[in-house]
């Protein structure tokens, strides 16, 4: 099963390799990984989507926590979170397909951010499932290039 881990790490060079090396060495499967700055300039946040059963995930969490440069590891999977991914998608368009492609973009609430002679580039945000669905829908028209940021996630605040 896929788990989403929020990992707060020190903001230093060399931190990413420690995390990536751990995953490679122990044979854990990374589905996606994002790293970005946070509100605290000394701390970066990694959002790691990793595949494994309960025992593997427990090991991943413990191994990550053991790294000196890791401050906290939170498994967001069972929690109430807002998660998003951003995708940029370049699609081939012709006179015949242009309108149906644009309709599809509309249905998924995407935005056209660039337009060439024979292709358009679409920006789309949403959860993983929505982006997967959009890619699936658009592929038959000629998917030229796909760039995804990987998932980022934040806990919902209590109401």
């Amino acid at each position: 099963m896929l788990h989403t881990l929020a990992v707060l790490v020190e903001n230093h060079p060399g931190v990413l390799i420690r995390v990536a090396g751990l995953f490679a060495r122990r044979g854990y499967n990374i589905d996606s990984l994002t790293v970005c700055m946070t509100e605290d300039p000394d701390v970066s946040r990694m959002t790691i989507v990793v595949n494994g059963d309960e025992q593997v995930i427990e090991q991943v969490r413990n191994q990550l926590s053991k790294l000196v440069i890791v401050h906290t590891v939170t498994d967001l999977t069972a929690q109430s979170v807002v998660d998003r991914e951003l995708a940029l998608v370049r699609v081939e368009v012709s006179a015949e397909t242009r309108s149906v492609v644009l309709q599809t973009v509309d249905v998924f609430r995407g935005r056209v951010v660039d337009m060439g002679r024979s292709n358009i580039t679409i920006e789309l945000t949403g959860d993983i499932a929505k982006i997967d669905a959009f890619v699936h829908a658009i592929r038959p028209y000629g998917l030229l290039e796909l760039v995804r940021t990987g998932k980022i996630a934040i806990l919902r605040s209590e109401v």
Binding site: E10, G14, I17, G21, V68
Partner: protein
């Protein structure tokens, strides 16, 4: 913050910081980028021991750490000096030994340009260090050194590497930043989740066939005293790992011996048959479980006590887990124990005694056997005597029949199984404890891996006694080829062996040759009595086997015994 000029170089600041940590000796080997370091060392009270290879330096630091309980420190130059320490770093990592390993590095301005003697030693050692630092600003040295020692010795100990660019060491008039540690992400577990102590003691009280399985974590925590108390109060049978030898003194009636691949029959049967396994400071290594974690102690409720959460449920499914320091956790068990009845183990002991009687370790007395030599050495040992070993058959024979009474008096390469460990480790041990009798028990293959350290021994007048069990072959590999390759021996014959007695003499070390049973006692007596270093070369047969032996992949009860 100190604002006044210290007049110190980066290297000077570094050495001050080492002194702050109580470092009295470092093992090292110089090189170009370390010139500022060796210059500053002339003005420092810290003793530098020059080994003859950087692997010798790191193994010596490891031996020093094991027998003193302190952090071992070593120093190597950039490039080849740094790559030469890699084996020793891996050794310390796998056995959780606290080391601070310092490597020289090219100047910060040359980093990343493949300049002369530049290697990315941090990258190379990433998977085998607890943590590492590349120092880019000498003002950070006091903090980094403090953190490095703290990380190396606390929690589950391990090696910390500090890479020191030449310009960082050479910079003059350094005004250091304060040494306050910044370790937000580093957690150390102490007493542990002790809500479970009662549960553990209850399980013990209800058990009819308990076994305590003790490993290196007992030694690290200094828990051997509590292990003994608990053992005696509850009349617990105890098995140990190679790392855990000495957790209960050799000869103690409750000790069943080592468990696993070359464990005793009784220990392996007991673990297989027990209804409660209290695993303390162990990691269910494949040398113990035979790589069959799921078929290990299957009849037992398994309690796992370890300071490293990563070890919990890594290999074996356990029933009660306590993350904490072995000594603190066992002490809490002792506190709770009086509220419960002690387990009824009389029948269990009856069974254990039957196994013990049927399968005691024994050897011939009419020819020169390795066991005879090792037991002979044991007769000369007092409670302060330190044994180091190399890797191979002789290491297992020592584990089986040398009377280790104190785990801090015993240093051997366990997790890595690195041949060449023994001699430099003996050097480190003798320097840590100058008054102790230090004995190296080694093989002719292993000794030749780091034999150049005889010079370090000679130069520092270290009265180490070297017991060489010389079978003329790589015995352990030969035994494996005999068993698994139908005796198709290949590349195990050490025909080019030198005359070891003459080698010793060439270094000014007393050499004694022993070829017969009659000479064993007198040679050992002469060696121990001699005030200086000695090498005694015992000729043994290449056909001596280490038994019992669980072939890899067999369950631990499925042993070759004859």
């Amino acid at each position: 913050m100190s604002k006044e000029k210290t007049g110190l170089t980066g290297a000077g600041i570094l050495l001050k910081a080492l002194q702050q940590e109580g470092v009295d000796v470092l093992f090292g080997y110089p090189g170009g980028v370390l010139l500022p370091m060796y210059d500053a060392l002339l003005d420092s009270p810290i003793r530098h021991v020059l080994t003859r290879h950087e692997q010798g330096a790191v193994f010596a630091a490891d031996g020093y750490a094991r027998v003193s309980g302190k952090v071992g420190v070593c120093l190597a130059t950039s490039g080849p000096g740094a790559t030469n320490v890699v084996t020793g770093v891996a050794n310390a990592y796998l056995d959780s030994i606290p080391l601070v390993v310092m490597t020289g590095q090219v100047s910060t301005s040359s980093l990343g340009t493949d300049s002369f003697q530049e290697v990315d030693i941090i990258g190379i050692t990433l998977p085998i260090t607890k943590h590492s630092y590349l120092v880019k600003d000498p003002r950070e040295l006091p903090r980094i050194i403090k953190e490095a020692f703290y990380i190396a010795r606390t929690g589950r100990p391990g090696p910390v590497l500090i890479d020191l660019p030449r310009d960082v060491l050479a910079q003059v008039n350094v005004e250091p930043f304060p040494s306050d540690m910044k370790l937000k992400g580093y957690k150390v577990f102490g007493r542990g989740n002790n809500g479970k102590i009662e549960e553990v003691v209850k399980a013990l009280s209800e058990s009819r066939k308990p076994v305590l399985y003790a490993g290196g974590g007992v030694v690290t925590a200094g828990a051997e005293g509590v292990v003994r108390q608990l053992t005696e109060i509850a009349n617990l049978p105890v098995v140990t790992t190679l790392m855990g030898i000495g957790s209960l003194p050799f000869g103690h009636p409750n000790l069943l011996g080592m468990v696993g691949m070359h464990g005793t029959v009784t220990a392996n049967y007991a673990v297989d048959d027990c209804d409660l396994l209290i695993a303390v400071g162990v990691r269910f290594d494949d040398r113990v479980t035979s790589g069959l974690g799921h078929r290990f102690a299957t009849k037992a409720k398994v309690i796992h006590i370890d300071i490293d959460p990563v070890e919990i449920s890594k290999v074996v499914k356990t029933h009660i887990q306590i993350v904490g320091d072995a000594r603190l956790v066992l002490e809490e068990m002792l506190d709770v124990l009086p509220g419960f009845t002690v387990p009824l183990v009389a029948d269990w002991w009856k069974q254990l005694r039957v196994w013990k009687n049927d399968h005691s370790l024994s050897y011939d007395l009419d020819r020169l056997t390795p066991q005879m030599v090792i037991e002979g050495v044991g007769k000369f040992a007092d409670e302060n005597t330190i044994i180091t070993t190399d890797v191979g058959q002789h290491q297992m024979w020592v584990a089986q029949c040398y009377p280790t009474v104190n785990p801090r008096n015993y240093a051997t390469s366990c997790g890595l199984g690195a041949m060449g460990y023994g001699l430099p480790a003996a050097v480190g041990a003798q320097i840590a404890r100058p008054d102790a009798l230090v004995i190296l028990i080694t093989g002719d293959g292993s000794l030749q891996m780091t034999m150049q350290e005889l010079a370090t021994m000679a130069q520092n007048k270290l009265p180490i006694k070297i017991i060489l069990l010389n079978n003329g072959v790589l015995g352990m590999v030969r035994q494996l080829q005999k068993t698994f390759c139908e005796g198709r021996y290949n590349q195990i014959q050490l025909d080019g062996n030198p005359n070891f007695v003459k080698i010793a003499e060439a270094y000014g070390i007393l050499g004694i040759q022993v070829d017969s049973v009659e000479q064993v006692q007198s040679a050992l007596a002469a060696a121990i009595k001699h005030p200086g270093p000695v090498l005694v070369d015992f000729t043994i047969s290449p056909d001596e086997a280490v038994l019992p032996f669980v072939p890899p992949g067999n369950e631990i009860t499925d042993m070759i015994v004859r």
